[in-house]
Symmetry: D2
Subunit: 292 residues, 4 copies
């Protein structure tokens, strides 16, 4: 996989492409934005006029684009890469797009004779620059083996999440949890502010407990994930404390939307016989409810 078409040179794609160029790959790069292409003029790579142009004669195509429609257009559109890409080649989508779109794309690419990996990345623009991204890969073992040298130029952690689609699915689960986490953090800090707490003290305390350090890391591994739901802290006490926090928020006019929902779910522990189990048994309750 010496020759690569790299489509999408934004905040993440830009530094990723530069890393591959620096590693000696022959890149044909493309972006709809002339400004994104500019810095590549002085690099040892080819600036293509379209995805089709970029894909001519390459071993693989990498897409790093904003969303589902952009990836589909870049690959299967009228000026798309597949108009030029040799059959049998590997398409690697590193964007974060809809899982259903990713799977539909894989089906369409397979039907055209291509192989595909969904390989979205985690971490920050700084990691993209440093080549220390997290690469979460879905697809065949053999295809991953072929692409691994490239991934190792881009990231420091390569995870094979499973077959086609599992990379993007795991990425979405990951971003789901971190994006909701930003609202949860905002709710807690806003409540603290509204009730007159000092921000520095608040951040210091929350950062030292499960609140900031996270249930997944602090409690889940030793409790529910280890099959133990004996109560270090029972669901009914969590329900009580969230109720008190909601009352505090109500008095202060600080909306606690996530906690309002969490309280209702904690109340379900009663009818499902889990009120005296550890609060990490919320996992089992949710599995019950969704018949997982």
């Amino acid at each position: 996989m010496k020759k690569i078409a790299f489509l999408g040179l934004g905040t993440m794609g830009g530094p990723m492409a530069r890393n591959l160029i620096a590693a000696g790959h022959e890149l044909a790069v493309f972006d709809v934005s002339a400004r994104a292409l500019e810095p590549f003029a002085s690099l040892p790579c080819r600036i293509a006029g379209s995805p089709r142009d970029a894909a001519t004669g390459v071993d693989a195509v990498i897409t790093m684009l904003p969303d589902s429609a952009h990836v589909r257009e870049a690959l299967l559109g009228a000026a798309g890469a597949c108009q030029a890409l040799e059959k049998g080649r590997l398409v690697i989508d590193m964007s974060t797009i809809a899982a259903s779109s990713s799977l539909a794309l894989a089906r369409d690419l397979n039907a055209l004779g291509y192989r595909m990996l969904d390989a979205p990345v985690g971490r920050t623009p700084a990691d993209a620059a440093a080549g220390t991204l997290l690469v979460i890969v879905g697809g065949a073992e053999a295809d991953l083996a072929e692409a691994r040298p490239i991934f190792e130029r881009l990231g420091s952690t390569i995870v094979h999440a499973g077959p086609q689609g599992h990379g993007i699915k795991l990425k979405l689960v990951n971003n789901y949890m971190s994006a909701v986490g930003t609202l949860l953090t905002a709710e807690a800090l806003t409540l603290a502010k509204k009730v007159g707490l000092d921000r520095a003290i608040t951040v210091q305390v929350l950062s030292s407990t499960t609140a900031g350090r996270g249930q997944l890391i602090v409690n889940y591994p030793k409790k529910v994930l280890a099959g133990d739901v004996s109560p270090d802290f029972p669901m009914r006490m969590a329900h009580k404390d969230v109720s008190h926090a909601l009352s505090l928020g109500a008095e202060a006019g600080s909306p606690l939307l996530l906690g309002a929902i969490a309280r209702e779910m904690l109340a379900l522990a009663g009818p499902w016989g889990r009120a005296d189990q550890d609060w990490t048994a919320m996992l089992l309750l949710l599995e019950d409810l969704s018949r997982a």
Copy 2:
């Protein structure tokens, strides 16, 4: 503060009282449950017949009880500690109760000539046994100074959160965030399971990213809390990813209640001019909405 009445010998209160006894304090202990009192029969302490009995002749009263009503009854009830406690003494409530109840209690105790600290604790029963609790204190500096030697027997971190009520408020903010965190973790892991992801791989990946390690620790300090909302990851991309995750959950029949709410709040970034700001700017958005 040599002589202490300790009321409430449950999962947390039991080991806490034992630590004070081991440190040489003269304790009069009480619990409504005979079974909770049993292990204290062989310890060098006095087993009291009521809170009033326990409070006779002591320097301070500590309460470690399930909820607001229990604390009020133990202190102000017909057989409550205040029936016997000498005026001017310190009452230390280490329970996690409603903030409004805690403040009402302080008002009532003050009116009777007592001083009060709200000093709820964080961490686990194991920490209670090891004397490594987190003690979050609200009240006067002087009162905290007086109680500090006791707190240092119980915990390894003593935080003065602010004046009366600030201890319990900060504790509730803390438990709010950690309790909602257990639902968030459960949602993510249930979604992962429903879409066929391997649990070990899922936990490994999420534990290594902001998802598991937490926005408060990973991103907030260097971004919004540092006054920087330039986008490492903009609100609009967080909105997109949560939307994709919700679609995935909808297809799989996995309910994502917290994320459903988070998505609506992320959508508000548009009209509030924050769509291109870093996702930690959710804090500013929430402050806007609640006029914090």
Copy 3:
């Protein structure tokens, strides 16, 4: 029940008391607000100095107060009605308070030798004035029979909801549904405005369909409540339409918090085998989830 102590002369209590006076009852009225008492100075009633004073020599006590604590204080406080009320008399609480407080009050009143009806009212201040309230009664048949002549002066519809506590419970269910309804209506109208729809047309259309006229009246009686969940409109189509509405809201920056939750619950129809049932089968799904 000729002589009545009427405690609480606010927006609702004021006109209610006037109706009873006009009907020839001998009223002793009390309110903590001098201004609320003022208009009664010129009426043929006695203005009492306290609930205790009001309750001296009466056949029954009626409370119409803001919330739980006020009712408890007015009846059981140091200057409360029970300090003077003859044993065996009837106490009628027409306030909307916490159900648990109402039941606790009933227990305490029973222990003191009194009987109690929880009899909160529905409808508006105008109905209070016209004597056309809805009175929802919980308690013993015999007590209701005794109080009925009074209720018939106050309201045009008297419903016996069941034994003690059932009146307040049904009232809370009722107000729950109508209060959430005001947010639901607000969400729909705000979305309509944000996407450029004319308000008059919007209101006209929504008022003519199930949206405005209500599932409980339009669809529930003939479908799920009649045991028929064959799909006039299946859960899966409702899920699709709510999803489309949420997308519309996201594009417009219009938060649809209730619908975001509703969509997640509709998605649960899949794993619970109800996706092809009528959308009123949401009732059965919720009963499944809460093990009702």
Copy 4:
């Protein structure tokens, strides 16, 4: 508009097509399901082999299909109607699809020289059969005028919602409100059941109040929509009652997800200065928050 291609003969489309045939229109009908086509074999219409076939020589095309992708495929696909439809003709989409898809479709059809109306329908399969549907139309006045005779065969109420896209937008707002309404009704009835209330009495009472009859019809027109937010029932009392209902639900293990959210929004009335305004002022609060 004598000759019409009618695409989609499902629960709604079937009876609609039959009504047009009965009214003397020359229909070419198509459905991907042979079974849906069957009953048309004996009717005076032409059964087409594809949307393209159906559209040959007609004055207009009507689509009544499940979702966005089906409509797009039926019109613009390889065997789509536009392969045969004469330029300048009218395309009428009566499906309920994504608003963004509907608008994109209109743009694409316009670019190809066609005119389009989005004209989704309300009400039930029974109304489809009786020709008493509600037709909500978006598009040009002139196009609506042209299509009106057809609409009048299908429905008894024809509403011009506004320009292109406004028909589908209003339909989505409508279905949003009614679909969330089914969850709200389910929550209230489940709570009632869990706390032991009789279902018949519950339904009877709720159906007679704003709870069942709806805020949009009962209170909004005379209050907030008339510019009057003086409190018939203030936001703060609605907050109190929802809080009490949530406590009741928590004790009973009955989840009240919508109300949990509603309570948080009602609490925002405080900081936004609306706590003493009528509960219909929730509309103004939501407009504030979304900057509508």
